[in-house]
């Protein structure tokens, strides 16, 4: 995959994710409605691919404003990833040399790998995760399950143990998928399924779309690294 194609795919997917978030905000809040209307409009422009260097810069500016306004990300990790994708996309457009552009875009791919691996590492060193107790707590009393009926899963220790180890192993093994194009395709498909399940069970739909927008950077990075090794 060429850098141009990967960047285009990223801005398309990111634009879609930001559009969903912005329209949701316009619908639910009267305050700052004009800011999010502008963000919606810029997201559509980003999807279209018109004047992307200025669009990413303006969206980045709104992103910094949001960090101030909400005293941090509005929706935790998903907004952090959104700003990271936007920052690296803007840098890719604005950095003068191709080598630096590749470094910025490659950094996004690297962070994507780390996002899974570090999450897996902090879980595997925690005995509560290894025994399934952590997931029991998530279902029993955390704010995440989307319905009261899902809280019943807290009483199914075998299922939770299986789910815990599935998540831990997937997150720890994910970096190895980088070694071959086929394994990366499988790795990203499993990762997308993981985010889809999180969206259904815990309402984390923003994670699904934002993480998806970072996938082209990893596919491009793998091509670039393998091409470098092959000479």
């Amino acid at each position: 995959m060429t850098l141009d194609l990967a960047v285009r795919m990223t801005e398309f997917l990111l634009g879609f994710a930001l559009l969903l978030q912005s329209v949701e905000y316009v619908y639910s809040q009267r305050r700052l409605r004009w800011v999010f209307l502008l963000r919606s409009l810029l997201s559509v422009v980003l999807i279209s691919g018109y004047a992307s260097e200025w669009t990413t810069l303006l969206l980045w500016g709104i992103g910094v404003f949001q960090l101030y306004r909400f005293q941090g990300p509005y929706n935790g990790g998903s907004d952090r990833m959104g700003m990271l994708v936007l920052s690296m996309l803007a840098l890719t457009y604005w950095l003068p040399e191709k080598r630096w552009q590749e470094l910025a875009f490659g950094y996004l791919g690297l962070q994507l790998i780390l996002s899974y691996f570090i999450s897996g590492w902090v879980k595997v060193v925690n005995p509560e995760w290894r025994t399934g107790a952590a997931l029991r707590n998530v279902f029993e009393f955390s704010a995440y399950p989307v319905s009261e009926s899902l809280r019943g899963w807290a009483g199914r220790p075998s299922l939770l143990l299986f789910m815990s180890w599935s998540v831990i192993l997937f997150e720890l093994v994910f970096p190895f998928s980088f070694l071959h194009p086929i394994s990366l395709t499988i790795g990203l498909a499993v990762a997308a399924t993981f985010h889809f399940a999180n969206a259904c069970l815990f309402g984390l739909n923003r994670f699904f779309w934002i993480w998806l927008s970072a996938y082209p950077s990893l596919i491009w990075l793998q091509d670039r690294v393998l091409e470098g090794i092959g000479g």
């Binding site: 639910s28 962070q111 780390l114 952590a134 319905s147 009926s149 259904c200 309402g203």
Partner: protein
């Protein structure tokens, strides 16, 4: 002037650094989980306190609704933001978090039968300890009029 610029740079750095160099420690531990509860009264003294959960989750969500929420989930995402505000309020008490919670509470009550009433919220944290689920009230807000004005009760 110079100091305010330095403060601005420091604040921007504090907000941007975790974005550009994220920690990615998702669910490393399952911390006590907040619930926002509120009570409404016609008097500012709120003598008759009946607390109810703000935006409680539904009993059941169908598969179709889960799929629809993949692209449209404004209330839930706003609720997650309020949970962040509740957690921030416990780690370092800020007026910002209090105002954000009150904004949503009052907007929800405005236009209904509670107009011109008084509202107060509290934070209840749920946690697992020695094999049992515990609830602890950790924060009690001031009282505000549902019209949005502050009130010294």
């Amino acid at each position: 002037m110079g100091l305010s610029v330095l403060n601005w740079i420091a604040e921007t750095g504090r907000l941007l650094l975790p974005v550009l160099v994220p920690s990615w420690r998702f669910f490393d531990e399952i911390a006590p989980s907040p619930r926002i509860e509120y009570c409404v009264s016609s008097s500012a003294t709120l003598s008759d306190e009946t607390w109810q959960e703000f935006w409680p989750r539904p009993v059941y969500v169908s598969v179709l609704k889960m799929l629809r929420r993949m692209i449209w989930n404004p209330r839930w995402n706003e609720n997650l933001y309020l949970m962040s505000c509740a957690e921030r309020l416990m780690s370092h008490s800020t007026r910002h978090s209090v105002d954000e919670i009150f904004d949503r509470l009052i907007a929800d009550l405005l236009g209904g039968k509670y107009e011109q009433s008084y509202v107060q919220f509290r934070l209840v944290f749920l946690y697992w300890y020695e094999g049992k689920l515990h609830r602890q009230v950790t924060y009690l807000s001031d009282v505000r009029r549902v019209s949005g004005d502050s009130c010294d009760a």
